[in-house]
């Protein structure tokens, strides 16, 4: 490259010290970003990609963090050597950042207008009227419809996609030369993700900014980046133009990442298999109460009359955007929340059973939750977590027998039984999800509701968990209700799919048919957003 790069990271290291121990999070990395270029930092969680990005603006918590080596040259000035005052002129002005979680990045107590005007007043010294006009302009630019009405809105009144758009508007307010985007679409639905990526690509082209894009999703990288840096364990193992990396990966780790898509075939659909769980006209309505006497004026129809059938050895996938009611449906079927409509389990009507009457049935009806960090009690060892269900459902087991069952199930989910006296924080996300699966499997259930069990995991770990789930299903003839917004995972696991939107079924049918010949526009939009990261015409999906 002939011209000097806009940002040049040279030999950067980041170390964290705690309790006398020092851990290197980033280990001598170097990369350049030229003007108008998009560079993607790709890696799995813990690879040091976010830490690298945060150190560009010195946003890490110092002193636990430190930079044993390196320079970050922006226009030839070393940002690491500069004081807090000079840095403040760069931050939010020449280099801006957008973060993963748009809900927590915005102040919940201030309106959108106040938050954007504040930046304009701070960095450009604009007056009220001028700043307001510019705010409207910015909101228009990031594709918020009717921005005049949105100015007085608070963050909670906006959808996730709109919040991320507001964040982008704030980042653009000062016409930055470099935008650092730290997983800006991870918390969003696939359809919204496609919209946001399109917006970012358009803005970048129009304004000629550079972008440092941090993500774990290779699909996004292929769509948006000019050059890619692949990071693992704090090191950059491969750098190159996007096309080259994807077509001709040189490093083993890059190849491993590229091969990490969930693979395999779902079980063959068999309508003669025994029905394990079925629901007829399942409704979950949450009342909206108003006035002094809390009169019920309306309902939020989270699940609005849905029929489902899950058969032994088969997987029913439930897909939809967030808020479509798919988790609520699963919780209603598992009788974790109250609902209307008939629910049969193992040929029994269970929709009128009380919590205590349900208890013996819980043994055969298990749930695996989304967040493997939240679903394991941090104060219990793995053995205690797994045997909790056994103590309730098989109280006669002796201590040795219980321990043997725990050891067996740990082997079955691919964990070393010797680790069963450790605590959850000593395990990685994927291992924790295996523990959560073991907790369900130890009771030999017949029906398992899987609520986004792979969403919080890295891509390569996702593939492993999908394989594990498929193995367990074949071995124990399990019926799965698999809830996910990730169509790639659904395609690898489910033989029947329900597409849900606003509590209603949009489309229902064999997985093959849904993926290859979707009937409704909504399903088509979901599929193109998930597999090709393409946006749909306005009005079909939420924003």
């Amino acid at each position: 490259m002939s011209a000097a790069p806009l940002l040049s990271v040279r030999d950067l290291s980041v170390a964290f010290s705690q309790g006398g121990r020092t851990t290197a999070a980033v280990d001598h990395i170097s990369f350049d970003i030229a003007k108008g270029e998009t560079v993607a930092l790709v890696g799995e969680s813990g690879s040091g990609k976010s830490v690298s990005a945060l150190s560009v603006l010195k946003l890490l918590p110092y002193p636990p963090a430190s930079h044993p080596s390196g320079q970050i040259l922006f226009h030839g000035n070393d940002l690491l050597a500069q004081g807090e005052n000079e840095l403040r002129k760069v931050r939010g002005n020449k280099i801006t950042m957008i973060f993963q979680e748009p809900m927590t990045s915005l102040n919940p107590l201030h309106t959108i207008e106040q938050q954007i005007v504040e930046i304009l007043a701070l960095h450009q010294g604009m007056g009220d009227r001028q700043a307001r006009a510019r705010t409207l302009e910015l909101l228009n630019e990031v594709g918020i419809r009717e921005p005049q009405k949105r100015l007085q809105a608070y963050p909670h009144q906006l959808s996730g996609g709109q919040r991320q758009r507001v964040m982008i508007a704030m980042a653009l307010a000062n016409e930055p030369e470099l935008l650092i985007a730290d997983e800006p679409t991870t918390a969003l639905d696939v359809t919204v993700q496609a919209q946001i990526l399109e917006l970012l690509a358009g803005l970048k082209a129009r304004k000629g900014m550079s972008m440092l894009f941090i993500t774990h999703d290779l699909g996004i990288v292929r769509k948006i980046a000019d050059r890619v840096c692949v990071m693992t364990n704090g090191k950059i193992v491969e750098t190159g133009p996007t096309k080259e990396i994807f077509d001709n990966p040189k490093h083993d780790y890059t190849r491993h990442l590229l091969a990490a898509e969930p693979k395999g075939q779902p079980p063959v659909a068999d309508t003669s298999a025994k029905t394990v769980m079925s629901g007829e006209g399942v409704k979950v309505w949450f009342p909206i109460k108003q006035g002094f006497f809390r009169r019920i004026v309306d309902h939020v129809k989270a699940v609005d009359g849905i029929d489902v059938t899950v058969r032994a050895g088969q997987t029913l996938g439930v897909v939809g955007e967030s808020g479509s009611g798919k988790t609520t449906l699963g919780l209603a079927l598992a009788r974790m929340i109250s609902s209307e409509g008939k629910i049969h389990f193992n040929g029994r009507d269970i929709d009128r059973l009380s919590f205590n009457e349900m208890r013996p049935l819980r043994r055969e009806l298990q749930i695996v939750f989304q967040d493997p960090f939240g679903s394991l009690s941090p104060r219990m060892s793995i053995a205690e977590i797994i045997e909790e269900g056994l103590k309730i459902h098989e109280p006669k087991l002796s201590e040795e027998e219980r321990d043997r069952r725990v050891v067996d199930v740990l082997k079955e989910v691919g964990l070393d039984p010797e680790t069963r006296f450790r605590y959850p924080h000593e395990f990685s996300g994927g291992q924790r999800q295996r523990i959560a699966i073991a907790r369900a499997m130890v009771l030999n259930p017949r029906f398992v509701m899987l609520d986004e069990p792979t969403s919080a995991l890295d891509m390569s770990v996702q593939a492993q968990v999908v394989d594990l789930l498929r193995d367990l299903q074949v071995r124990h003839d399990l019926a799965y209700l698999f809830i996910s917004h990730d169509l790639k995972v659904i395609r690898a696991l489910a033989n029947e799919v329900i597409v849900m939107r606003n509590g209603k079924i949009v489309e229902f049918g064999p997985a093959k048919q849904i993926f290859e010949a979707p009937k409704s526009d909504y399903t088509r939009a979901l599929i193109s957003a998930a597999f090709k990261i393409e946006t749909a015409p306005t009005g079909i999906v939420s924003e």
Binding site: Q18, G19, P63, P64, A334, M336, M358, R359, P360, R362, R363, Q366, I367, F369, Q370, D371, G374, S375, L376, S377, P378, R379, M380, E388, G389, I392, H393, E400, D403, R404, V407, P417, E418, F421, R422, Y423, E426, A436, R439, L443
Partner: protein, 377 residues
């Protein structure tokens, strides 16, 4: 935990879980709190054995070939040739009789909290013994300077109060009463408050609403007036006071525990336990209570201090423990009435402030220990 556990058996885990080890490290890192804990423990253990430190009876006595433990057992005076039901070992007649037929082992301070010193050199309240010359100190003893009882064991190290009782002995016993009162009251309130907060937070909704209103009404009852009224009906005593205070002090725990339970009841691992069919009571104990314990433990030392201060102020006002009991509040009141005897006020003040400061320092260290964000460099 690098140790490899044996297969199929529950190998010994470290005594403290890694989490608790980290907490203990954090606690120790607060040097002030750590030292306060040790000082307090030493003082507390000493005061628990106050009968062997300051007593008007010997710890051991050997009389006519018989080993006696007067500190623990009441022996009638007949045993030593007297005629009272209870032996007064400070009486020279008795002590001489025992000394003649054996020996006596006295505690370091030969006064109990209620024993009156009949040999004080000046009118009560009398100054600390070290402020007198030997002649002055021994002037009231039958044999003067040569009297065998005019020894260091009979000194009033902190002087006497206006009823000629030894201040040091009263302070030692008073410390014990205050700390025990505080501990029992705090533990009692914790048990009631935590259970009540747990039920409200876990079940929420109507249960929460109704109990919260009841607590609001309950806590608006003026405790002091209630104490005055009850003091007029019931004889004031340690347990009556404790009971009345307990009726109201548990309320302070409800808020924090309820908040913790409200927050944690929708945690995913609580839902996971519910999905396993774990009964509510077990979920509350096994999964939720540990969360609330952190907030409670942090709060505990401050409640403890509050309880001690309340007892002292009640004693000061005269609505506390029955007259004659060892109490720091009563000592402070004497100090206020006898401004000419500053050792009374000073002793009370120093003991109170030492005790409260130690407890607060321990409390601060506890708070550090349970603060997950606390890092020490």
């Amino acid at each position: 935990m690098a140790a490899v556990e044996g297969f199929g058996q529950r190998a010994a885990r470290p005594w403290l879980s890694p989490l608790n080890q980290r907490r203990w490290q954090n606690f120790k890192a607060n040097r002030r709190g750590y030292w306060s804990l040790w000082i307090f423990l030493v003082l507390f253990v000493l005061s628990m054995f106050a009968e062997f430190v300051a007593n008007d009876r010997p710890i051991l006595a050997f009389y006519k070939g018989e080993l006696l433990v007067p500190a623990l057992i009441d022996y009638p005076e007949e045993k030593f040739g007297g005629f009272y039901a209870v032996t007064d070992y400070r009486d020279p007649v008795i002590s001489d009789e025992i000394e003649a037929n054996g020996w006596l082992l006295w505690p370091p301070v030969r006064y109990s909290y209620r024993s009156v010193n009949n040999e004080i050199p000046e009118a009560a309240p009398s100054k600390p013994s070290w402020m007198f010359t030997k002649e002055e100190r021994c002037q009231r003893y039958p044999l003067g300077v040569d009297d065998p009882n005019c020894t260091i064991g009979n000194w009033n190290w902190l002087g006497t109060d206006d009823q000629a009782r030894d201040v040091l002995a009263r302070v030692i016993y008073g410390f014990r009463v205050s700390v025990l009162f505080g501990l029992i009251l705090t533990l009692g309130s914790a048990v009631i408050g935590v259970s009540s907060g747990a039920v409200q937070g876990y079940f929420g909704g109507m249960t929460d609403l109704i109990f919260q209103r009841i607590i609001e009404i309950w806590s608006s009852i003026p405790v002091l007036y209630l104490l005055l009224i009850i003091a007029a009906i019931l004889p004031p005593g340690f347990f009556i006071l404790l009971g009345i205070m307990l009726l109201f002090s548990w309320v302070s725990f409800v808020g924090i525990v309820r908040a913790e339970f409200l927050r944690a009841r929708n945690f995913e691992y609580v839902n996971a336990a519910r999905a396993l069919g774990v009964p509510n009571r077990t979920i509350m104990f096994r999964h939720l209570l540990p969360n609330a314990m952190v907030a409670t433990l942090t709060f505990l030392p401050f409640i403890l201090n509050g309880s001690i201060t309340t007892l002292t102020s009640l004693d000061f006002l005269g609505f506390g423990l029955p007259p004659g009991s060892a109490s720091l509040g009563e000592l402070l009141k004497q100090g206020q009435r006898n401004l000419n005897a500053p050792w009374l006020g000073f002793s009370g003040f120093i003991v109170m402030s030492l005790m409260l400061s130690l407890l607060i320092f321990i409390g601060e260290a506890t708070r550090d220990a349970f603060d997950p964000r606390k890092t020490f460099k």
